[in-house]
């Protein structure tokens, strides 16, 4: 006798594993640091959140208890992983990591000229 809840738990876990593999493929195949941050922050976050939701459902049906620690883990990963990706991308741009040769537009390259113009007008 297999419960219906096991099917839901297995579906969430397999979706999470699929997105984990997509993260690894993106980290290997993409040409640039700034595209790899997208793969690492978005896809890995979604995969881990799916696995943790599967674990939450499993412990809810197995033990009949609502684990608050898994909810905290889901919330923490949801908040912090995109923030970390953004911080690393900004630090890499300010330390002069090259963009990919396929890049067509770079908005931040005009920022230094704009600040220089603003400082010269102030003086």
């Amino acid at each position: 006798m297999i419960d219906v809840s096991e099917y839901f738990v297995a579906a969430f876990i397999l979706i999470g594993a699929f997105f984990g593999v997509v993260t690894a493929i993106g980290l290997i195949r993409l040409p640039d640091l700034y595209t790899r941050t997208h793969a690492a922050s978005k896809s890995a976050t979604l995969g881990v959140m799916s696995v943790l939701i599967g674990a939450l459902l499993f412990f809810l049906t197995e033990e009949g208890m609502f684990n608050s620690r898994i909810v905290l883990g889901i919330f923490f990963v949801l908040i912090t992983a995109p923030v970390g990706g953004h911080l690393i991308a900004r630090a890499a741009y300010n330390s002069g990591v090259k963009l990919a040769p396929e890049t067509v537009h770079d908005d931040l390259s005009k920022k230094e000229q704009y600040e220089k113009k603003k400082n010269s007008s102030r003086d």
Binding site: A10, L14, A40, F58, I88
Partner: protein, 94 residues
């Protein structure tokens, strides 16, 4: 049925972590390696959750929180070090 899918997910995460370690070794810049280590920590969270399902125990759930906090703090410290050369700086001007 559930055990089989957990085994499949563990094998998939192991293959993904091998790819992430390849990027951490090869990556041309320091920031590439930091991104790879962040993804490695997040994958370890998922592997811990899968093991806690497989062993039918809720002991490892604090390990999930600790790994998340450590991965985030490490990423923030590395980004400040890459950008300014110092993790704790006294410069208030920027």
């Amino acid at each position: 049925m559930l055990n089989i899918s957990v085994y499949i997910a563990l094998v998939a995460f192991a293959i993904a972590m091998i790819g992430i370690v390849f990027r951490a070794i090869k990556g041309p810049s320091v920031a590439d390696r930091v991104i790879a280590l962040d993804s490695l920590g997040i994958s370890l969270i998922a592997v811990t959750a899968l093991f806690s399902i497989l062993l039918r125990t809720s002991v490892f759930l604090e390990v999930i929180l600790l790994l998340g906090i450590l991965a985030f703090i490490g990423t923030v410290a590395f980004s400040k070090y890459i950008e300014k050369g110092a993790i704790v700086d006294r410069d208030r001007r920027k």
